[in-house]
């Protein structure tokens, strides 16, 4: 139903070329991995797709049944988790989720959220402020925040960052889940994360 189209995408970062004329298409059920050296522009590419950064050249478009979605509305259909994308440290996990629910217009169901907390192993810390979480716990919460609104497109920047094997299982579940209902793009250099994908694009060509 939803698809993503990237055409001739080029990005300069203050006169350094990151990538040039990148084009691909993502269809429902597909998972794409972006790999490359550090600094090759993986995170930037994801941010451009998300609409956070403007490309120097080229287009990113999302379609719903072949009807293009305007850029301003794109945020509703995208969920993103990235190392640079922090959550609110002065709130508890539940409060963070409550906020993101409300701001996206989803009805906040406390019990449902507690269930989710349990599933990702944060049930004891659910009522404690995120400031005190370990980096692994924060990462799990970030992943949950990304899928809270069932986005057709999921953008994961180094999803396994700071996660142990139990955490990786959650990532696996999320990605396989996402396959059924939408698409995902993973930016990573980790073998195990890249293995989840159907296709790979190497930015350090």
């Amino acid at each position: 139903m939803y698809s993503l189209s990237v055409t001739n995408l080029t990005k300069y970062y203050s006169s350094t070329l990151l990538f040039k004329d990148l084009s691909f298409r993502l269809n429902p059920g597909e998972v794409l991995a972006i790999i490359g050296w550090n600094g090759s522009g993986k995170s930037t590419l994801l941010r451009i797709i998300a609409g956070l950064v403007r490309p120097s050249c080229g287009r990113v478009e999302m379609f719903c049944k072949n009807a293009p979605i305007p850029k301003e509305s794109r945020r509703q259909f995208i969920g993103m988790a990235a190392p640079a994308l922090s959550l609110y440290e002065e709130l508890t996990a539940l409060e963070n989720m409550e906020f993101f629910c409300r701001v996206r217009g989803i009805a906040y169901d406390r019990r449902n959220c507690l269930n989710i907390m349990e599933r990702i192993g944060l049930s004891e810390q659910a009522e404690k402020m995120c400031r005190n979480y370990s980096s692994g716990m924060k990462q799990r919460l970030k992943l949950v925040q990304a899928i809270l609104h069932n986005p057709p497109l999921l953008l994961l920047d180094e999803p396994g960052c700071n996660l142990d094997s139990k955490g990786m299982k959650i990532v696996e579940d999320i990605i396989s889940d996402q396959r059924q209902f939408g698409m995902a793009v993973i930016a990573s250099n980790e073998r195990r994360e890249v293995d989840y994908a159907d296709r790979v694009i190497n930015l350090s060509k």
């Binding site: 080029t10 300069y12 006169s15 070329l17 490309p55 120097s56 050249c57």
Partner: protein, 215 residues
């Protein structure tokens, strides 16, 4: 080239042609300098604002060059206007600064320009810098109607005895001619300097390969 000539001629012209106005000594002559400078300073603000709005609408780099150049020139003429104004104030009213409405307005304009440049230099990313500067330019401009309306009311009560700059109370034809000529000259100077500045900016911009900017 012609503009320089024009400016030079006019400048010389009224130093030679006597401007017979009844003001303490020769101080009235400053009118030929001061008012056009203030006029150009305000005009620059308007030009800068319109260029900023154009930039935001079309993201045309040239519009940003125009906005920036106009702001720089505006700042320059604003400083000149303030200085000549306060010289005139000292000569006529005995003190350098009085906060009468016109003086206040010019200082506020000066502050706006200063803030504009501070903003431009504080943002590292070039695209953001241009957008922010343009936004600020528009914001500042929206406060201008308020200033025009509000400033005279407050300062009038502050210094009721202060006289405003004489607004051409029946200028004799010779003075009027020279005044208008000077106005024209300053405007011409402004346009010339503006184009020069823009050319410099464009050449500087071409040094770095900023792909995608010229689309």
């Amino acid at each position: 080239m012609l503009s320089i000539w024009m400016a030079v001629i006019i400048v010389a012209a009224f130093l030679y042609t006597e401007a017979a106005v009844g003001f303490p000594g020769e101080t009235s002559r400053i009118l030929f300098f001061h008012v056009p400078q203030a006029w150009v300073a305000t005009l620059s603000f308007l030009v800068s604002m319109i260029a900023s709005a154009t930039y935001l609408a079309k993201r045309n780099l040239k519009a940003d060059y125009l906005a920036q150049s106009a702001a720089e020139l505006g700042f320059l003429f604003c400083v000149l206007a303030t200085v000549t104004g306060s010289i005139f104030a000292k000569a006529t009213w005995g003190s350098f600064w009085n906060w009468d409405p016109r003086e206040t307005s010019i200082v506020i304009l000066l502050m706006i320009y200063g803030a504009y440049f501070a903003l431009r230099s504080a943002v590292p990313d070039p695209e953001r810098k241009r957008v922010f500067a343009a936004v600020y330019s528009i914001l500042a401009f929206t406060t201008v109607p308020f200033l025009i309306f509000v400033v005279p009311r407050i300062t009038a009560s502050l210094h009721p005895e202060n006289t405003m700059n004489p607004t051409q109370p029946g200028m004799d034809p010779k003075t009027l001619k020279v005044f208008l000529g000077s106005l024209l000259a300053y405007t011409g100077l402004f346009v010339w300097m503006l184009r020069l500045k823009m050319r410099i900016l464009r050449l500087e911009g071409l040094k770095e390969p900023r792909f995608g900017d010229f689309i």
